[in-house]
């Protein structure tokens, strides 16, 4: 799952996947603005076949949290 999320973030934010770490967030990734956040959510929903709630979307504030939320949803 980690690798899939990295690949998606890499595509959406147009950065190499190996530059993404646990703490990668809107503060460290230049292209992580509100529009690309929408693109990230849509891409993750498609990839993992899930539907996030409003709260989950606002909580996805860095790579580690995204993975955590996805793990909760999938378990």
């Amino acid at each position: 799952m980690h690798e899939q999320v990295k690949q998606i973030m890499s595509a959406v934010f147009d950065i190499p996947a190996d530059q993404i770490s646990d703490t990668s967030s809107p503060d460290t990734i230049e292209k992580w603005d509100s529009l690309n956040h929408m693109n990230l959510v849509s891409s993750l929903e498609e990839e993992f076949d899930v539907r996030f709630t409003d709260e989950e979307i606002t909580e996805m504030l860095n790579f580690k949290l995204i993975v955590l939320i996805l793990q909760q949803k999938k378990s």
Binding site: Q7, M38, D54
Partner: protein, 575 residues
Amino acid sequence: MIDLKFSEIIKQNAALGNALEGGYEIGVLSNIIVSQIKPILEYNLRTQGIPANCIIGDYDNILQDAVSMSKMNAVLIFWELANWVDGFQYRSNLLSDDQTEEYIARFKSEIDYVLSHLKDTPLIIINKFSTLAFNQFAIGEDNFDRICETLNAYLKTKSASNIVVVDTSKVISQLSVERAISFRDYYSSKALYTVDFLKHYTQFITPVISTINGKRKKAIIFDCDNTLWEGIIGEDGIDGIKMSASSPKGVVFEEVQFLAKKLAADGILVCLNSKNNPGDIDEVFSNHSDLSLTNDEVIVKKINWDKKVKNLADISEELNIGTDSFVFVDDSDFEINLVNQYQPEITTIQVPKEKYLYPALIRRHLNLFYSPDRTKEDKARVKMYQQQKEREEKKAAFENIDEYLASLDLQVDIFVDKIELVPRLAQLTQKTNQFNLTTRRYTESEMLSFTKSDNYLVFAFGVKDKYGDFGITGLSVVELKGTNAVIDTLLMSCRVLGRNIEQQFLDEIIKALATKGVDTVRAEYCRTQKNDQVSDFYDKLGFVLQKADGPRKEYTISVPAYQNHSLTYIAINHA
């Protein structure tokens, strides 16, 4: 594209974007958030060779953006009735009649404002207003529905050659409201439509943009056995094949033949490419009582035991249109795979194993032949190719080409600044790829301003011969600059190639320019992927090359030095 994941589209689109130059600019005007359409639409067009650049307007700034984006190649308008006024889907139902009228009047004037500012934009794609997202379960009509209907009726009265109205309910119906609409994102950020919807929507409208970029499909080529009829002539015999609605197995094939007949009536070239004995197919076409398609509707028949890929290349040569404008239909995996592999530019349709899905599959592809308004020339095209067949047969009987051309009784009508021809001339600039020296695409309004301007002369010609009338098939736009003239555009439809009409046409242009006091004519050739055949056109006519700069070559000729061709077999009339 539909099956590709959104993140994959974003990634591949970014890669394509870096490789492309220039740009076909599409402005997106909206009062909701649809920014996710950008990578999807760009990707879908870029993979077709259209270097699309999508510019998302500001949120709820349709009126302002109509002014600032009017110079773009196309605009796309997402005007959501529910968000025209905040919460209109519920507020509208408590309005008095007077208040309703006031809102309708205001919306109409906003529509007028937007469309009038975009009147010179070559293409406006605007969605029909819809209440479907909110009212899908309502039996009766509410005021929201009635306002929606009134505005749609109003939009219909605004029809113009550059406006395409899209029925989004057709797109939503491909998915269901549940998959097309995201209330979560609508209430949090005014993003009403899902990525899934935007993919299907993009797929739906792409043919409109492809057509205006000269990428429309022009021919459909059918295999015969198990494609035009059920059964195999070689095994079932001519009497054993089925294609009539009165037989359970034939019914879908009758429908497909009628779909093909309708395409032929609309000017699409229907051809055959089949491994069979030619005599058997002739026999079916002359004598089979269940055949709906007729000999006249089929332009080229390649019935032989050659490779189908070769036959397709031969058809392309015979019709003088590229294989990229072909759709090929066959029942065999083997044949379809070969074409996909060797001629990937051809769209292929494989007859489905469940035959009852076949007519629907063909219908799904009909948008590839989409044309906004069929001009007289489109409809006459099939007839013209039939006459062409007769000419080709005659040609074989002559010793030399001049003798043959003389036998045709060619008549060329020359028109100058003729306003009635403007729609056709604009269409020619948009569709002509091969015999086109500069490939500049013009809209009707641009062509109209050239025609009216004192600084430009717009020459056009029509061609007739003893077999038939080709209609208006060539034009030139010339800019006058005192004693200089610049040939901005010179093009000719490939239907009239090989008759030296272009030489005679240029004679007439130069003569007309001489009477205007022009002493030097400048001209240029701009290379594209398709116009190689005219790369030395000006060299052959004695123009002097001044500068060759990458894909562009610039020429001049002094008017007194120009050698008239005075071809005796072409009669010129100044209309």
